[in-house]
């Protein structure tokens, strides 16, 4: 059947499109995406993570574009506080005003709040055991490829569909249910985090996560689906050049 499709339409998967050194390691210099719109201070994050136990930290990030409602931000802050876990929370400079003034200081024993970080480096760190995410497609692929269980908090665009897949198809996380105002409340966020870090569901997801991690790597390895698709494309390009 695959051949039948291939002949009908040249529709191919490419990916996961995350730096090679996190997957197959074929491209030795490919450790990061190569650019960012934001200044980051990874040493601070890495040093902080180095002091935490394996699988004990919740990483929280809503990507490069999402603007959270102030009310949602507050519920999230309370949810983290109530869960009593260690957390590394990325709050972009443009989002800082929505955060209660003293939160970062008050919670400094448990949490680190930064404006930006290299998400790949953070997710790949063994201290990280849970990722509270907006379910942007790249973030979802990163967590899948690195085997990090997720708490899905989709906000807009395709994130809701990605969240559905993360929870119900890939079994890689739980979704924080929202109320009629589309806000995930503190109790919900707390229980989702606990479910991942301490519950039975979390254990099941972690087992499943290692499967996806392996499949992601296989796809880009020599002879994997993405690698073969790229070979086929390149061979065709070379052929069409020599024929004209």
């Amino acid at each position: 059947m695959a051949d039948w499709f291939a002949k009908l339409w040249p529709f191919r998967s490419i990916g996961p499109t995350i730096p090679s050194m996190y997957l197959d390691k074929q491209l030795e210099n490919d450790r990061d995406y190569g650019f960012s719109f934001f200044m980051q201070n990874n040493d601070v994050c890495m040093n902080w993570l180095n002091d935490r136990a394996k699988g004990s930290v919740v990483h929280v990030s809503f990507g490069s574009l999402v603007d959270l409602k102030a009310e949602q931000m507050e519920e999230l802050a309370w949810g983290l506080k109530r869960s009593d876990c260690y957390f590394l929370w990325v709050v972009r400079a443009s989002e800082e005003s929505k955060m209660s003034k003293d939160f970062a200081e008050e919670s400094s024993a448990k949490g680190l709040v930064v404006r930006w970080c290299s998400q790949l480096e953070v997710l790949a760190h063994e201290a990280v055991g849970c990722f509270v995410t907006h379910c942007g497609w790249n973030s979802s692929l990163e967590a899948l490829s690195l085997g990090v269980p997720m708490v899905a908090m989709p906000q807009r665009t395709d994130q809701s569909t990605n969240a559905k897949y993360i929870t119900d198809v890939w079994n890689m996380g739980v979704k924080a249910a929202v109320d009629e105002k589309e806000i995930a409340r503190r109790e919900t966020i707390e229980s989702c985090i606990r479910e991942i870090l301490e519950g039975e569901k979390g254990k099941e997801i972690k087992r499943n996560a290692s499967k996806w991690k392996e499949l992601a790597k296989e796809a880009v390895e020599e002879g994997g689906s993405s690698d073969k698709n790229i070979d086929e494309f390149v061979a065709n390009l070379v052929l069409s050049r020599s024929s004209c």
């Binding site: 191919r12 998967s13 395709d158 690698d227 069409s240």
Partner: protein, 235 residues
């Protein structure tokens, strides 16, 4: 003189971090296979980015979205941004291909973000290979495609939405542009417009991996791109 290269691809991404990252990664993979790759982004983005630590021989070229000083943040509205970008972007991409055609390694192929279907128009004008790259998941692309073809009727009134190859969806599982119909109508139009000329693309790539969305890939007969192809054959 530079040795004649194996093949040369322009990789034109939509100016947002989440769109540039995957296309840049695809570029690195192509380069690893010996293809010359020139990533293309807007002048505004090119000036705004902070370079990372990766060493790469890939050199960036720019086009204009018509807002070189401030990008979308300087536009009056999303609509005026997209209208101007689509006009100026096409023109400046056209100029770029023209400029590179006199080089030692002229362009063979344009890989363009599917958000910008005019990338294909430029490719076809110069007789180049045109490849659409969908940065979103295959499942999400399939949903938009079904809306584009009228196979999902708007507004959605059903409590369960069935799309071939996808799990049964509740309305709130659909992309927000559909579930909250009317929010950002201009972006929504752009998302549907991705399919307006897809039947003329030589290649269609999706930012995913096969095992992850196997069911979407393997839905026979009604698979969305197959459907697209057969429709174009009928017309």
């Amino acid at each position: 003189m530079e040795k004649r290269c194996k093949a040369h691809c322009l990789v034109v991404s939509f100016p947002a971090q989440g769109h540039i990252n995957p296309m840049l990664q695809f570029s690195k993979r192509l380069e690893h296979k010996g293809v010359k790759v020139t990533p293309v982004t807007t002048r505004f983005i090119s000036n705004a980015i902070m370079s990372g630590s990766s060493s790469s021989s890939i050199s960036l070229q720019t086009i204009s979205d018509g807002y070189d000083e401030g990008g979308i943040g300087h536009a009056e509205s999303i609509k005026s941004y997209l209208d101007r970008f689509w006009k100026v972007g096409l023109q400046t991409l056209d100029n770029l291909v023209e400029k590179l055609s006199g080089s030692d390694c002229p362009v063979d192929c344009i890989i363009y973000d599917a958000f910008m279907p005019w990338g294909l128009d430029v490719a076809k004008k110069f007789g180049l290979v045109g490849a659409a790259f969908f940065t979103q998941s295959c499942a999400v692309d399939s949903i938009y495609y079904h809306v584009y073809r009228g196979l999902i009727k708007l507004p959605v009134t059903e409590t369960q939405i069935l799309v071939p190859g996808l799990p049964p969806l509740e309305p709130q599982d659909l992309p927000s542009f559909i579930y909250h119909l009317g929010t950002y109508p201009d972006f929504f139009d752009m998302l549907l417009d991705q399919f307006s000329n897809i039947d003329r693309a030589d290649w269609v790539f999706c930012n995913s991996f096969y095992m992850l969305e196997r069911e979407v890939w393997y839905t026979p007969h009604i698979h969305f791109f197959v459907l697209c192809k057969s429709n174009s054959n009928l017309n």
